[in-house]
Symmetry: C2
Subunit: 283 residues, 2 copies
């Protein structure tokens, strides 16, 4: 495949979108970032399920599933390895204003990016993270959604340029530890695995859900709860999840270094066949 990204809009090849699209004007839409291996989209069921649920929450007409699947198949023809980004917006509006026309439909934007093979060294060694100064605003109406309003993540990502830092951890306005800019966060303390509740902010990541399911399969105690700075300080293991990279152990947070602990290691092993596309998500 070519090194530059390719685009399809409502199934037609082309990279030019109407400048009146509400995705641009208001971020009125959702997206999915899908890892594709061996010419197949990984965890597609989960991605399409989350997209449909997000459309329902935003009252955004969900594109027919068969259409999305056919367009993904077209995009992956002769392309074994790629990242697909699927954006669904409330479409173009000729009239100004936040109110959408009752007949407003949706626009499907499918983008195919090259996906460089993993750096096995980084995956095994773990990553260094920082803590963002920016705190996430809290709005239960948007919490969990992978919507297009991502200025907070853009600004948090602008806080550092050191390539040795892989990610920044984000707190919420009310002081809960939530996630990274592009990953979900898991902590292990006393053998118990925990990830942040996302009822006020954050994105309910696909890999977050998969790893939660694997923890149950593996018999690991697992909680979704409010996490705090104290939890971060006392965690024996910390890892990040992301649909592309799976599980990344954190080996350094400000003021502390950590090893890759047994829970992280066990979940990485359980996840490996799924990342290779050899098995599906846990039930």
């Amino acid at each position: 495949m070519s090194a530059t990204p390719e685009a399809w809009i409502d199934g037609r090849r082309g990279a030019q979108l109407s400048v009146f699209d509400r995705g641009l004007h208001y971020g009125d839409g959702l997206f999915e970032t899908i890892a594709c291996l061996n010419g197949r989209p990984r965890l597609l069921e989960r991605h399409l399920g989350r997209l449909a649920a997000g459309c329902a929450r935003l009252a955004l007409p969900a594109p027919p599933r068969a259409l999305i699947e056919a367009e993904i198949a077209t995009a992956l023809k002769d392309t074994p390895r790629a990242v697909l980004k699927l954006i669904v917006t409330r479409g173009a509006a000729a009239v100004r204003g936040y109110a959408a026309a009752p007949e407003a439909g949706s626009t499907r934007i499918l983008l195919r990016y090259p996906w460089a093979p993993e750096d096995a060294g980084e995956a095994e060694a773990g990553v260094r993270v920082r803590v963002a100064a920016l705190r996430l605003g809290e709005n239960p109406h948007l919490a969990g959604l992978k919507h297009l309003n991502r200025l907070e993540q853009v600004l948090a990502r602008r806080e550092w340029s050191d390539p040795a830092i892989a990610e920044a951890l984000l707190y919420s306005a009310s002081g809960a530890l939530i996630s990274g800019t592009m990953s979900n966060l898991f902590l292990v303390h006393g053998g118990v695995l925990a990830t942040a509740r996302l009822e006020r902010c954050g994105v309910a990541g696909i890999m977050r859900g998969v790893v939660g399911g694997l923890a149950c399969e593996c018999g690991i105690d697992f909680q979704e709860r409010r996490l705090t700075a104290e939890d971060l300080q006392h965690a024996e293991e910390i890892f990040l999840t992301n649909a592309l990279t799976g599980i990344r152990a954190v080996r350094e947070v400000p003021g502390r270094t950590l090893g890759i602990g047994p829970v992280t290691h066990r979940l990485q092993q359980a996840l490996a066949p799924l990342l290779r596309g050899e098995r599906g998500a846990p039930g």
Copy 2:
């Protein structure tokens, strides 16, 4: 002018934007909505000043002012009355991810919409408003900016469809009364005019600034402070401001009706020549 909107991207006529624009992907940009009368953009100094300040806060390369002015002049040729929407984004990115390339520039999008003459009846009679169930998330990094992350406003606007309701008032997550979905809010109590502080959320509207300046010119006591539900309940006068409509008296909030009081009336009179384009903004 035609009834359909017209578009210029980086000065070139056309309504097709790169689908890789960060304005679409992240809402990584800002906008201005400019009323144009007699072929001239009203309050242009203020709009360009706010845009430049917003660009600085987002570390977004500000387009040269002369360029914007020339493009606005082109858009207004033979078009006495219109609304111009100017969007500035961080431009197209061939690479995925929140980090912008160090060499990233900006994209200017200028849209010209028809602007129907005012309904003098509505302007004089005042409007009915509701209170939104949705509360605005709080993030000082974004507060005040007219940025492209507007899903909160879209969702708040979806809460009602009754055309007799002109606007919804929005509280913040921490319970402060902030603004409407597309307007700023002023209350009068005991002869003192107040509008919400916007250090945690809300948009610092151009007309809000103009009206604050006029209040000083008129010798009206004026405060920017935290407003609450109690302030709303006890206000003797309530009005909304917006760059297009100026001052709209509120004649009904849930549970109460109000008249157009003396402070509102005086400010409307002081504002009238400015709305007609006969004078500039107060210093």
